[in-house]
């Protein structure tokens, strides 16, 4: 019996899409070292705004890693617009739940994606209203 359910442990022990993408179309990093978790997402996005590839690196606890892993699975293959609709609730549901004190970790993935898409939007001059008001420098919710 561990702290987390089997699905979370599977994504922690065998995280999907770990690593980085060379010359990515978007990169985002959120979190900070004080809180003990940082997540970085790399995106490869094609002309149809489909997220063809996604990689992540995460510094943090088991649920941070597992949230990152499952989020990349949810995001991969979706259009940017679709992906931006993914919230931490989706991450939580897909993971089958996290301990209460760990729920904030699922927010990290949502925020990291937004940060990466913002990078992409800035580079390409696009605008996503889903990102209005989003500031990756702000401390993520705790």
């Amino acid at each position: 019996m561990a702290m987390y359910n089997d699905k979370v442990m599977d994504h922690f022990m065998n995280p999907r899409n770990v690593g980085e993408i060379e010359n990515p179309d978007g990169v985002g990093e959120v979190g900070n070292i004080r809180c003990g978790d940082i997540m970085k997402i790399y995106l490869r996005i094609n002309e149809d705004e489909v997220i063809e590839d996604i990689k992540f690196r995460t510094f943090g606890c088991g649920s941070a890693v597992a949230s990152s892993s499952i989020a990349t699975e949810l995001i991969k293959g979706k259009t940017v617009k679709e992906a931006l609709k993914i919230t931490n609730k989706d991450v939580l549901r897909e993971l089958g739940g996290l301990p209460v004190i760990k729920v904030h970790c699922s927010v990290l993935a949502e925020q990291a994606l937004k940060a990466a898409v913002l990078d992409y939007a800035t580079k390409t001059g696009k605008h996503y209203e889903e990102l209005d008001g989003f500031n990756p420098e702000e401390e993520h919710e705790h």
Binding site: I33, R57, G60, C61, V65, H142
Partner: protein
């Protein structure tokens, strides 16, 4: 699966002899030692015998041993005694105390006491000089952690106690981790009051003691029946007290052997890790250190992930104090010795005990380095390091 328990500072498992004593006591010595009938009188004898065994073990007189529900209550009680029997508003402690003392002192602050939390050096040490300089006219208590539960640092307790003595100030030490792990003789000591707890020395949970030297005026913290000479009410927990006594007896039989065996294993583990894993450092003092404590910070990665991966290989360890996990801040002890948040978050504590065998250490030395490496490869903080390494190729 192999299960290797390296969290002996959180709690220890009962020694078989202690278990036997407790089972027998739960069956046949489970009466009220305050009762006048034969059962009660037998209980009174059992209680006196246990108290004597424990007193002998720490070099105290039996009447100086007061039973409590554990180290936490003992710490709370010691502060209470100072408040109730001494005039003055100032107390001195350190920034690296266990929460049982830290939060008790913070509570005293709320009540209007001034508390000096002495900072420690990079090893977790305070000096007698620091204590002396912090003294005030109205200082009523000096309380210093004997052996640190997280980083294992052993304080210069008798030097600090000498300062307390010289200024006639009550001196308490939280020796929950130290008892059974350092040579100790209260009959020749500056310690006025000392907290200790059975479950850290292969005895049961929920039972501990506050040693109160006979020259110190006690004052009740938990009011009730006439137990503990009227200073701590509550039906005597005889089965646990008897288990506590057995644990003390066993610890006293071969303390030097226990210390030297654990010290050897500890140093093997420490050096084995430092040799095999780059970018890590030992927390706490290299030699003024509890014999079973290993605490190492690994750069670029976070402690809980290490724990989880270790757990999957059957190794039980902890990150910071067991008591603080569940909170998000890194431990106050690691911050207290000046670690950055990053390094503090990456700490791993492995605490050895009498059940730890050399092959367990070998197993850890085999399993831990690849885990650290795997986690680093997942870490955004490690990217730069990887690039550097790749650039160097």
């Amino acid at each position: 699966m192999k299960r290797i328990y390296l969290d002996n500072s959180a709690t220890t498992q009962l020694k078989p002899e202690v278990l036997d004593v407790m089972i027998e006591a739960l069956k046949n010595h489970n009466f009220n030692a305050a009762s006048a009938h034969s059962y009660g009188q037998e209980g009174k004898l059992d209680l006196a015998k246990a108290r004597e065994t424990i007193a002998n073990f720490v070099g105290a007189e039996p009447r100086e041993i007061y039973f409590t529900s554990g180290g936490t209550e003992s710490d709370n009680w010691a502060v209470h005694i100072a408040k109730k029997t001494k005039k003055g508003k100032h107390m001195i402690t350190t920034t690296v105390e266990h929460h049982a003392m830290l939060h008790t002192m913070e509570e005293a602050q709320k009540e209007g006491y001034d508390v000096t939390f002495l900072p420690v050096d990079e090893y977790g040490l305070v000096t007698a000089k620091q204590v002396e300089e912090a003294l005030r006219e109205d200082t009523i208590l000096i309380s210093i952690l004997y052996g640190n539960n997280e980083i294992g640092t052993v304080m210069p307790i008798e030097e600090i106690g000498a300062v307390a003595k010289a200024h006639n100030i009550l001196f308490h030490t939280d020796a929950v981790q130290a008892v059974g792990n350092v040579p100790l003789d209260l009959s020749n000591s500056t310690i006025d009051m000392m907290s200790f707890s059975a479950h850290k020395i292969y005895g049961p949970k929920g039972i501990g003691s506050l040693f109160i030297r006979k020259t110190v005026r006690p004052y009740a913290f938990i009011h009730g029946g006439a137990q503990e000479r009227g200073y701590r009410g509550g039906t005597d927990n005889l089965p646990s007290i008897m288990g506590f006594a057995k644990a003390c007896e066993l610890a006293g039989e071969n303390l030097a052997g226990h210390i030297s065996r654990l010290t050897t294993l500890r140093d093997k583990l420490i050096h084995g890790i430092l040799e095999r894993v780059p970018h890590c450092k030992l927390n706490g003092h290299p030699t003024k250190r509890l014999p079973g404590n290993v605490n190492i910070s690994f750069e670029f990665i976070e402690g809980e992930s290490i724990l989880l991966m270790l757990d999957m290989t059957g190794i039980a360890a902890s990150s910071g104090s067991a008591c603080t996990s569940g909170s998000l801040d890194p431990s106050h002890v690691l911050m207290g010795i000046g670690l950055s948040h990053e390094i503090a978050h990456g700490s791993l504590r492995m605490t050895l005990g009498d059940f730890t065998r050399e092959e367990d250490i070998d197993y850890v030395l085999e399993k831990l380095p690849p885990i650290i490496q795997r986690l680093r490869e997942m870490s955004p903080l490690y990217e730069e390091e990887m690039r550097k390494q790749n650039g160097n190729v």
